[in-house]
Amino acid sequence: MRRRRPEPFTVISAVVALVLVAFVLVPVISMVVEAGAGFLGQALRQNDVRRSLWLTGSSALIATGLVFACGVPLAYLLARRRFPGKGLVEGLIDLPIVFPHTAAGIALLTVYGRDGVLGRLLAPLGLTFTDSVAGIVVAMMFVSLPYLVDTAREAFALVDPRYEHVARTLGSSPAGAFFRVSLPQAWRGVLAGALLMWGRGISEFGAVVILAYNPKIIPVLVFERFEGFGLHSALPPAVLIMIVAFVVFVVLRAFLVPRRRGTRREDDR
């Protein structure tokens, strides 16, 4: 059987798409090549890199967990309910996406800094945000929460609310319908949002560097090494964080995030 020749439109689309893929791929490959063989071992042998890697991943994880606890209920409400000021809330949640992150750091400093409202309030309890892990977490939360909330909202919106109506008539309370019917159907999307948020968190620089320069997360360490010692010193931590992010993303997405419901490809038929 003869295969059909691809349509010119498909060919043009593929070529244009390849340009974009190359745009992402070439710098990544170039960085790895530049780092040279053995860069991974070299990077992991450096104490500050190991500490920084652990700090970056764990801070982003804590930030994601905290936003998850409040963001999932918010995402559900945004997907299901109409309420006064809903548009405003949606706009506010998305604000960090368009906010320059150094400006976000300044804004956070006015609240969580030593002279900020919460900074002063929480200092007697031993919780300080400037140059502390708490500050890193707050900065990561602020800039990356839209990724979790928006993705989770979309996931809940894809679940027909009538499933919950049926569950209610079968004896479930609103919370029961959420946990037994909506969340099990939306969890992959919610988890994808959490993953995106974590990924955005580990790459944050601008807000963190203003609020908590120390202890150093990987982006700050890369910046500091580049400024102080040049490109070759900055490469090992840079390549390391890229590999960690890549592996986590690829593995988790493959297992957790199937193709979106409702989307069809030409060759699905």
Partner: protein
């Protein structure tokens, strides 16, 4: 058993009601209306999913208007079944049951023929199977009222017929009161003993299906129930009030005296007999009544086949449609332009007040 007292429900700018509807225990009520009439809104209010803006929902005399859905004892089945996709069929059917009550499911799953499906996932079921499982899931907790929102419309052919029979059998056996939303009048006739007609958010008529068919309260209800000939009366009735002059000049005898100055005359296509050169072709109206039948002459304007029967439009004037078995259309060579005679009994003519 179930009573709706002055119930008003809002969906955006659209308001349904006030609706007053009372059903006895075990009644099977077909809630019929065209698309957009507000049937589903009303059903949601009875289920407790939507709060009414006024009125009451009573079940066994108990006011449930402010009661949440999970405490109403009401089962709900949607058109597309809406089985929980993350659970197996067994998980779906058992969803509303406490652990100890699972053993009582045997009879229900047998009656609905879902025994063999219990370990399957909802995605692997056919449309008819899905609806049977949805029905089992809704009935499993033993609801007092079953609400069905177009439960047969996503199922075709034999599966639809099978599901209809199961629905009838299972609901009767369990004595559950049913409110079944449909826009399919035939479906309602085959299942319901009570019919409620909702048009443009208003409950127009409640009665037995045959009452609504034979005695529609207005033109909308008449047309919804397939009365294609709703004819305007040109002049108030004379003499004994039983003869009216239709627009177009044709006189028609009616079964009961007409008192309204402005009225509409309803003649169902299947109640008219079409005669060509002395041969009867269709309908049974001419022989149906004791009094002298109406005889009108006209010319065929068009013949439209609907499978087993055809609708023949005859210009008298006015234009009157007659239902004729399709095999007769061929046998009698009913063609456009042919001159024919229409016969129908005065008892088969229903008079309505003209709508504003």
């Amino acid at each position: 058993m179930i009573g709706l007292d002055g119930l008003r429900v809002r969906g955006g700018r659209f308001v349904v009601g006030p609706v007053d509807l009372h059903l006895a225990a075990g009644d099977y009520c077909g809630l019929v209306g065209p698309s957009g009439a507000g049937k589903t809104l009303l059903l949601e209010a009875v289920a407790g999913i939507r709060s009414p803006v006024a009125g009451q929902v009573l079940v066994e005399g108990q006011d449930l208007t402010g009661t949440p859905p999970e405490k109403r004892g009401v089962g709900l089945v949607f058109q597309d079944g809406l089985l929980f996709p993350h659970l197996t069929v067994a998980g779906n059917v058992r969803y509303g049951l406490r652990r100890r009550a699972v053993a009582s499911l045997d009879g229900l799953v047998r009656d609905l023929g879902v025994e063999e499906l219990m370990e399957r996932s909802p995605g692997s079921l056919s449309g008819g199977e899905r609806q049977r499982v949805a029905l089992a899931r809704a009935l499993a907790p033993g609801p007092r009222v079953l609400l069905l929102d177009e439960p047969l419309s996503a199922v075709d052919g034999e599966a639809r017929e099978e599901l209809r029979e199961m629905l009838q059998r299972v609901t009767r056996r369990r004595g559950v009161t049913v409110l079944h939303v449909t826009h399919d009048v035939g479906e309602m006739f085959s299942l319901a003993n009570t019919c409620a007609v909702l048009v443009d958010g208003g409950l127009r008529q409640v009665g037995t299906p045959s009452e609504v068919l034979r005695r529609p309260v207005d033109e909308d209800v008449a047309r919804l129930f397939g009365a294609r000939n709703v004819l305007r009366v040109a002049r108030p009735p004379q003499g004994d009030g039983r003869t009216v002059l239709l627009e177009g000049g044709s006189p028609v005898r009616v079964g009961e005296p007409v008192h309204a100055a402005e009225a509409l005359v309803v003649v169902r296509p299947e109640d008219v007999t079409l005669v060509l050169s002395g041969r009867a072709a269709g309908g049974g109206g001419a022989e149906g009544g004791a009094s002298e039948p109406n005889l009108l002459k006209g010319r065929i304007e068009r013949v439209v086949s609907h499978g087993g029967h055809s609708l023949v439009r005859v210009m008298v004037p006015p234009a009157i449609e007659v239902s004729v078995p399709s095999r007769e259309v061929g046998r009698l060579e009913l063609e456009t332009g042919a001159e024919v005679e229409l016969r129908f009994s005065p008892e088969m003519v229903w008079v309505l007040p003209a709508q504003g």
